[in-house]
Amino acid sequence: MKILVCIAQVPDTTSKIAFTDNNTAFATEGLTMIINPYDEWYALVRALELKETGKATAVHLITVGKSDVEPVIRKALALGGDEAIRIDVDSNDPLVVAQEIAAYAKAQSYDLVLCGKESIDYNNGVVGAMLAALLDTEYVGFATKLDVEGNTASLVREIEGGEEHISCNLPLVVSCQKGMAEQRIPNMRGIMAARTKPLAVVSGTGAQAQSKIVAYEMPATKTGVKMIDADNMDQLVQLLHAEAKVI
């Protein structure tokens, strides 16, 4: 079984977000970039576990971005994975990202494609489902458990107000979230090994964007907190009712 793990580069979760060019561009200067946590902690680690238990024969990592994403993909390789592919395209349109990954993945016939449930920058969570459409496979979103026996994957996925235990034949695209695996810290051996692992750079197919970001804005700041005495919860309830009008 060959697994492809989709990796996105995102700003560190503690980042202060700012914009430039009259609020039309995201200011990346000075930001620490990390592997999207859902891709790293859940999709990648679960793929590695499947390889360690002998169920997967190969784990490939793929990312779409310019050369500035290479440090992050090397970090991912330090956790594990046999080789990485970077598709040399810079796009904010998830459909472009999905089309580029699909174009590469089709030729490689992966049995399982894993991604995080969403990237923590644009919070779209759509690339996995788009990828499944383009590869014409089933898609299981928000999976918290995944195992594979032969040609069949058994999964647990989140549904409205509960969870569903399902099985599904390969090939399959799965978006992963908490519960799937535990975060790992790369060790020195992994970091050393990652330096020499193959990182192929592939040109894009020229997929056309169907959407574009035209502006950014910051949320309105709160006007100031109203402090209430801990012994006067009646006052809080009254304010929530009469002033905030939320109860």
Binding site: N124, A132, D234
Partner: protein, 337 residues
């Protein structure tokens, strides 16, 4: 006037197609929100609004979608769709959208919509906005606002393709029930068994609780709760208020609470009307998941907790002491109102 409108429909109207998902056999508020959102676009573009219902459904429930803006219901009356399959649902929606000339496709940004809508977008080469929080604007094309960086910022996205796909964050758009019944039209789709590749072995429902993503009121606890044995205080308050319960990441990581309750940058993003944070300091990652809440109440024993800066109302005090008092005050209020 009405005649003219009808004439326009027949002439060259496009369709706005809303994926109307059933949960336990009924349509939910988020579907009504999506229909009214569609109706407001229809008013601008002079389009027709149709709800797509997949699988078995009650006639009267489908007709009632008319009260929320659906002029017609396109019903794929095939029991195979009673079980959810992203592949089959997306194929059905794409086929109906194509044959009906639908140019705008809308679904709630929930588990079903998030699996189906992007898939349809990919099949139709359509630009997409996932998680819209505002109605489209038309001054420079077709632009929709969404929240990014887990609530730390917003962005406006222009969809440039002929077919447009939008998912809507539940609880963001108002719903008023109007009048009228939708006309039901049965439609067929070509689908084969291989498109239903998912076999559901069992379902575990969390009963008696309000799904977090849809909750208007949320009571949330952090490390200040000191341990899972004190969580009945959160649950008691939530019960009195009719609120959902949530927690911070350290709480979920310590297995005090199930992970689906975790809100924050790496957990769920929510935007209830009221978010009460108890014993949560307010790290930037936590704020990211909740700061779109309309009103925020922070209860923390540390007056320097950063969360107070993002709060509307603040109480300095120990979580375990303040919670019972708040519960009593809520009970009094509920009894009087």
């Amino acid at each position: 006037m009405l005649k003219q409108k009808l004439f326009n429909f027949l002439k060259d109207t496009n369709m706005i197609l809303v994926l109307a998902e059933q949960i336990n056999g009924s349509f939910k508020k988020k579907t009504f929100e999506a229909l009214q959102y569609a109706a407001s676009i229809a008013q601008h573009n002079n389009d027709k609004v149709a709800a797509l219902v997949l699988g078995s459904a009650q006639q009267d429930a489908m007709q009632e979608l008319g009260a929320y803006g659906a002029q017609e219901v396109l019903h794929v009356n095939n029991a195979k769709f009673d079980a959810f399959s992203a592949k089959a649902f997306a194929k059905a929606m794409q086929q109906v959208a194509t044959t009906q000339n639908a140019t705008i496709l809308i679904a709630p940004h929930d588990v079903c919509g998030k699996a189906v809508a992007p898939r349809v977008a990919a099949l139709m080469q359509a630009g997409m906005v996932a998680g819209a929080i505002a109605h489209p604007t038309y001054n420079n094309g077709f632009e929709v606002k969404k929240s990014v960086f887990s609530g730390k910022a917003f962005t406006t996205i222009a969809i440039t393709s002929p077919v447009k796909v939008i998912t809507l964050v539940p609880n963001t758009f108002s719903v008023t029930k109007g009048e009228g019944l939708a006309a039901i039209q049965n439609v067929e789709v070509t689908i084969n068994d291989a498109d239903f590749a998912t076999l559901v072995n069992s379902v575990e429902k969390v009963t008696g609780t309000i799904p977090l993503g849809e909750a208007e009121l949320v009571v949330s606890g952090g490390r200040g709760m000191k341990g899972p044995e004190n969580w009945h205080l959160i649950e008691d308050l939530a019960k009195v208020m009719g609120a959902a319960t949530a927690c911070s990441r350290p709480v979920a990581d310590s297995h005090w609470r199930p992970h689906h309750e975790h809100v924050g940058q790496t957990g769920g993003t929510i935007r209830p009307n009221l978010y009460i944070a108890i014993g949560i300091s307010g790290a930037i990652q936590h704020l990211a998941g909740v700061n779109s809440s309309k009103t925020i109440v922070v209860i923390n024993k540390d007056p320097e907790a950063p969360f107070f800066k993002a709060a509307d109302y603040g109480i300095v005090g120990d979580a375990l002491e303040v919670l019972p008092k708040l519960k009593v005050a809520m009970e009094k209020f509920k009894a009087a109102n």
